[in-house]
């Protein structure tokens, strides 16, 4: 694989991967926020 193609793949794949991981973490945080509000309200 040429260095240019490798760099391109690195940037493109890396950014996509990180965006999806960030979205997963935000989804988990949102789930956690709902849980925290419900638990805090109950106790």
């Amino acid at each position: 694989m040429s260095p240019r193609r490798t760099t391109h793949r690195l940037v493109r794949g890396g950014i996509r991967g990180l965006l999806i991981e960030a979205a997963v973490v935000l989804g988990l945080v949102a789930f956690g926020a709902v849980c925290a509000m419900v638990v805090a309200a109950v106790f």
């Binding site: 794949g13 890396g14 990180l18 999806i20 991981e21 926020a33 925290a36 109950v42």
Partner: protein, 498 residues
Amino acid sequence: MLLRPSGEDLRLIVHDLGRIMGVAAAAGLIPLVWALTQREWHAAGSIVLMIGLGIFLAGMTELYPPRRHRATDWSHGMVVVALTWLLVPALGALPLLLSGHYGSWLDSYFDAMSGLTTTGLAVIQDVDHLPVSINVWRHTLHFLGGQGIVLAALTFFSASGALSLYQAEGRDERIFPSVGSTARFIWLVSLAHAVLGITALTLDGIFAQGFRPVRALFHAFTLFMAAFDTGGFSPQSTSIDYYHSAVFEVVIAVLMVAGAMSFGLHHAIWNRRRGLFANLEVRTILLTFGGTLIVTMVGLASAGILTQPWPLLRRGFFQVLSAHTGTGFSTVSTVELARWPGLAFAGMAIAMALGGMSSSTAGGVKSLRIGLTVRAMADSVREALLPERVVLPATYRQSGLQRLTPRLAQSVMAVSLLYVALYLTGAGVAVAYGYGLQESLFESVSAAAAVGLSVGVTGPGMPVILEIVMILQMWVGRLEFVAVAALVGFVVAWVVGE
């Protein structure tokens, strides 16, 4: 009858071992650069000593290569990997011991093993005043272990029989047909995360924490290695709580999630494959994370420790994520964590015991095994309830449709049970030394599942036998039993074989 290994077998093992030790020693160049730029001459000297010793050992084994060209087969690969993970920490402990921050050689070996197995438990004294380069070396051990020291070595030399070495290190996923291509992809994923993760943490360090650029880079560099490789060492004794930054915690959380993901999943995301949420392992880890988070939050709120939604979310979420991904970072102090009530403790301990995904840098039983165990049990119940003539298709989704054979189900359950036995063994020894059952179980699971969260059992001056048991737990837990069993079998065959 057991067949006694020949001298040629031993030459083959020692030869591969020497090469891997050479690569591990060469990794010392990373902290050496830091030592030279920070003018830490004493630390630089100790790192050079380690590099020299590693290269000397590698050179010695090159003098006695195997007489015949022979591929490393499965059993050789297992023995090489088991020995590698015992000997590399012995080499890596040298700069730690010479730093003067450890009470004994065993303490420095404990930290080196904890670093390499990406556990993160530490018995270091006064980590806040440790030289920068030695701190970088501790974290480099995380990086070496997380990436796979053998995988790292395979990147530099193509060993015949590379697959057996690769699989012996606890990775059963081949992303590409060749191990070399798989290794290159793993490095590519790590590099992409390193560039983006270190940049984000450095910028936060400069603009939000007020660090000078070099200090911000040091914190970002070490924390990236500890987060992405689910290690848990930190340059500060108060771990992530030191930074008091929600942004910092979110970036670290993303890196921890990335580290706990299998590289196969990374490959699927990079190549825009659909249906990721149909994966048994992804579904399992999302369910277990949600469950343990709720249990921990209910435990904290019902005991009146954290009753407001924001602190409950910020502390509870980060702690459970850190536990489930096997990282071991903390936003609460060891003393505070030890005061958590039983239910929150249980939530955290279960999260630690379950661990991350297979073929990732995380430890523990692993989500795929949990998912398969539950699937196999559910299938058994369904079979019992349905008429005899009905045959159920025993399948699951994991990178496509896979067959859940009885043999696979048996091996998955056997490894899961072995993990439970490993957790109980360490807890039993700690209880024998007078520690409480709850804290003993927590610390034992933390060591065996390569997490690193502590409630105070681990530390300078801990009982020597308990320290040795925890070293063994980290070693066996990281290698997932098979390589260790192969090493024991090799030694037994050497002694009693004919």
